[in-house]
């Protein structure tokens, strides 16, 4: 910056100096927008959008049967198309404009009042427009995540309607409560990049949706094996890289904290993949590729709230715990409670988000994020985290249930038996993989 302004000053003719001299008093508050922060956040925004399409689209569709691959991708695409527009229309305003305990304001409806120099108080060194765009990508992926639990059987029209309502009544309030100046954030509940707002809310929403929708036909009796796990591996790779923008970008600046968050994130993914694969190797005699990628995503989801608050090496411990707990949830818990969460949204994201949020209260390190956790002698933080988990759990579960009942009163949530047999690709979209 210094060198550049010097060069600018040298090349600028005296006329320019005079103009600037005259103009200066007009800018009451000179903007603190930092070009390095802005550049990083543009990249991070692109990375997080890439997580939904094609990342999540590939991850999910690789795990369904061949007849439902396109329909599963359509759900991720729909989340991008719809939530982006709703976010600009009113979502951003309700979450991030104004810091009331329950909801933001309508000051930024359709981005009203957003100018070239405006910044959000939460990120004063980047343009407000960029902050808005970055946060948009989080809303998109959260809505898209929920769809995995009802894959193979939800009617597309019902999914669209449900997604819009879920975004308005689950995501928007939660995001405001935790990140937009609402009561959870104000109390001191820590959630760096979305353990509560993204993963737990989507995981619990998915669990409730799976329960309300009922099991897939043939669940427990027929072979429902994945169409092409290599797609899921490619999807996991894109999610993994995208997560650098998800967690690293949540520092909202190009700084050391972003890098610390990225290291913790990467290590958690590695440890999660190793753990899940290792458990399978000892229990089932073979480490599956699906197990390794599931463990990686479990590690990534679990480190999400903690990254930026914990030391990098904590990522390994958190990944290890994530791999074990999520493995248990997907292979034992699901069978015991007999719900058909098709792609384990609850088992991976719900359990991961919950575990990660609690572990943030254990491992939080003042030198990284300014807050101490249990290990540094602040047990209070763990209680706060527990409170955040409880509020998110109850809100997401209750509202998701009510919304599904509401949507179900107008359109059938599920496709007909015949259509389920035939596949959603051909019956919902008129296309099929050959």
């Amino acid at each position: 910056m210094g060198a550049r302004s010097l060069r600018a000053a040298r090349t600028a003719a005296p006329i320019f100096v005079a103009v600037v001299g005259l103009a200066t008093p007009a800018f009451a508050a000179p903007s603190d927008i930092n070009t390095a922060d802005t550049a990083w956040m543009i990249v991070a925004t692109a990375l997080v959008l890439m997580m939904t399409v094609p990342g999540l689209a590939l991850f999910y569709s690789g795990m369904v049967r061949k007849k439902n691959v396109l329909a599963t991708m359509a759900q991720s695409l729909a989340a991008v198309m719809i939530i982006s527009i709703l976010w600009v229309a009113f979502g951003y305003s309700l979450v991030f404009a104004g810091d009331g305990p329950w909801l933001g304001s309508l000051d930024r409806l359709f981005l009203a009042g957003m100018t070239m120099d405006s910044v959000n108080p939460a990120a004063k060194t980047i343009p407000e427009a960029l902050f808005m765009l970055y946060q948009m990508t989080f809303a998109i992926i959260t809505v898209a995540l929920v769809a995995g639990s009802v894959a193979d059987r939800m009617r597309f029209s019902a999914y669209l309607l449900f997604s819009v309502l879920w975004f308005v009544f689950v995501y928007v309030p939660l995001a405001h409560w935790v990140w937009g100046g609402g009561f959870l954030g104000a109390m001191g509940v820590l959630d760096f990049a979305g353990g509560l707002v993204v993963h737990l809310s989507a995981g619990v929403g998915g669990l409730v949706a799976a329960k309300v929708m009922g099991r897939r036909q043939g669940y427990g009796t027929e072979n429902l094996s994945p169409f092409d796990l290599s797609l899921a591996v490619v999807g996991t790779g894109l999610l993994w890289v995208g997560w650098f923008g998800f967690n690293g970008g949540s520092a909202l600046a190009a700084n050391s904290r972003a890098v610390m968050a990225i290291i913790a994130t990467h290590l958690a993914a590695c440890a999660g993949a190793l753990t899940w694969g290792g458990i399978e190797w000892s229990v089932r005699r073979k480490p599956s590729v699906l197990g390794m990628i599931s463990g990686a995503v479990a590690g990534l989801g679990t480190i999400t709230p903690a990254s930026g608050f914990v030391a990098p090496w904590h990522g390994i411990v958190i990944g290890l715990i994530a791999g074990s707990l999520c493995y248990w949830a997907c292979t034992s818990l699901k069978l015991r409670f007999d719900y058909d969460d098709s792609l384990d949204v609850f088992g991976v994201h719900g359990i991961g988000g919950m575990t990660g949020t609690l572990l943030t209260g254990v491992f939080a390190t003042a030198a990284i994020g300014g807050t101490s956790g249990l290990i540094e002698g602040n047990p209070q933080q763990l209680l706060l985290q527990l409170y955040g988990v409880a509020v998110t759990l109850v809100w997401s579960a209750g509202v998701t249930y009510a919304l599904l009942r509401l949507v179900g009163a107008f359109v059938a949530l599920r496709v007909s038996k015949e259509h389920e047999m035939e596949g959603l690709d051909i019956t919902q979209h008129g296309e099929a993989l050959q």
């Binding site: 795990m63 072979n223 429902l224 094996s225 699906l290 197990g291 599931s294 997907c330 292979t331 034992s332």
Partner: protein, 112 residues
């Protein structure tokens, strides 16, 4: 003329083809098929969900040979496709009533 139908393990195809070429069999039809015999299937596990897969991938190979070559062909197939493990496959031999090469109109043994 005999039609020899062999169901074999997919990875044995190259040995199979070389063996038959060596004794003068110069054509075959190969189809990817699924099925089971004594081997039954195997179990696949996806995040704890176990599926028994009954039908395993095999190759179904058809060759048409002159009657006097049939026994020799069966011997070659047996030796080239055998691993000694369960699932090596089966060979069926049936008579052919008539054969015709579409391009030239040649018939029976001239058409093989």
């Amino acid at each position: 003329m005999k039609l020899v139908v062999a169901i074999i393990k997919p990875f044995k195809l190259d040995e199979f083809r070389q063996g038959l070429t060596a004794i003068g069999v110069h054509g075959m039809t190969v189809t990817e098929v699924k099925g089971y015999g004594r081997q039954k299937g195997h179990t696949e596990i996806y995040r704890g969900a176990e599926y028994v897969v009954n039908f395993l991938p095999k190759l179904r190979i058809e060759i048409a040979v002159a009657s006097e070559l049939a026994d020799r062909a069966v011997e070659v197939i047996t030796s080239s496709a055998r691993t000694g493990q369960i699932g090596d496959g089966k060979i069926f031999v049936t008579p052919i009533d008539h054969a015709l090469r579409i391009r030239t109109g040649e018939t029976d043994s001239d058409a093989l």
